[in-house]
Symmetry: C2
Subunit: 220 residues, 2 copies
Amino acid sequence: MNFSSSEENYIKSIYHLQQSCELVNTNAVAATMHTRAASVTDMLKKLKRKKILQYERYKGFKLNEQGKKHALGIIRKHRLWEYFLVEKLGFAWDKIHPIAEELEHICSDELITKLNDYLGNPAFDPHGDPIPDQHGRIPNRKQLSLNILPLKQTVKVSAVGNQSTQMLEMLKHYHIGIGTQLSVTKRFSFDGSLEIKVLKFPNCIISASVAKNIFVHHDK
Amino acid sequence: MNFSSSEENYIKSIYHLQQSCELVNTNAVAATMHTRAASVTDMLKKLKRKKILQYERYKGFKLNEQGKKHALGIIRKHRLWEYFLVEKLGFAWDKIHPIAEELEHICSDELITKLNDYLGNPAFDPHGDPIPDQHGRIPNRKQLSLNILPLKQTVKVSAVGNQSTQMLEMLKHYHIGIGTQLSVTKRFSFDGSLEIKVLKFPNCIISASVAKNIFVHHDK
DNA sequence: AAATAAATTTAGACAAATCTAAAAAATATA
DNA sequence: TATATTTTTTAGATTTGTCTAAATTTATTT
Ligand SMILES: [Mn+2]
Ligand SMILES: [Mn+2]
Ligand SMILES: [Mn+2]
Ligand SMILES: [Mn+2]
């Protein structure tokens, strides 16, 4: 089956939303995609006709196995291109998303196979998000948000939950990137802010809202 | 001004056609783009409205300076991506065109600047066609078709006029690629076929119709 | 349970890009 | 020059993706 760029954007959006709830609702898709609920409903009918979506009027919807598989294919392409843009072309972290948003719709299996080989079969994109393999399998890694990490455990940053320029600026200031080693040395109950120790740098303090967006994992 | 992928494809097609005639005609565009004359007329009105085309009903048309500039930008992107696909991803010559046909529409000036730098600012694409620079300037190189090259002059292959799988197969068989050194040793007036000497290989004979599609240049 | 609010869908419109079939203009031919 | 042929344009339709405004269904409050 073949899908247009627009259909693919909806598929991807629904996929991401259904990771955190059983059934997805119309308004949520409209909000994340910056369209209107009526447009979403139109697309739902089309995706149901194409048999990649379970959907009943007024009851919510979710991708079926076929739909999820296709979503993972698009996400794979998106994240491989992001990796390319950062690692090969030298783009900054916060500039790559809109470009990958276009590149992900280029359809050629051979292109993706060759790009993947060229990049060395990377497992994570520059934001720390996992890259599904050609069968749609995702490397899963136990990770937790920095603001629930117990004190004094040395961990590595595995991903960031917010990929804005503002967040990048903040992380740069703290010398934090994907893979950075750090530990939490103190937690202030007043506002939930944390004192952390970043490897090779003096202790510093970060707010709870920043910490919430930093995901870490233990050891290698 | 912003252009859709479809508009860009028309612009590119008109640009190529007007390289070999003063005014382009509707049917020629329809033929090269595999659309219908009526669709071309619709698009001509649109491109005229956007002020990149000189066009009068029934009289033919051509891109103005603005239009030519935009065409060169698209061609630059197309050829840079083709170079990437062959030199970095290891694609064969005859598989890259449809992929570049999509990639050329991705719009990000920074992407093209960085891609160009990454590729080492190449001057020619894998088919030997010149890559316009960021100002739309084309490196021009005096080249001539192999079937009008005088005997015994040693030249280098600079481009091929036919980029099909069939042509690639043929050229591979003759050990000919872009940059290959060769000379014409004999010309048969019966059917215009040529005997050529490819560097490091024994003499061989090629037909006039193959020769017509091989372009060569002297020295360096 | 009725009234109100929120979420969702339908109805109807629009722009972009394409098509077919018919009309009009330009060109070639007898 | 009149007729035939080719080229180009117009008229009108279709598909895709979007929108607004109104109707409908579901959920939440009194
Ligand atoms: Mn996208
Ligand atoms: Mn990412
Ligand atoms: Mn194209
Ligand atoms: Mn080329």
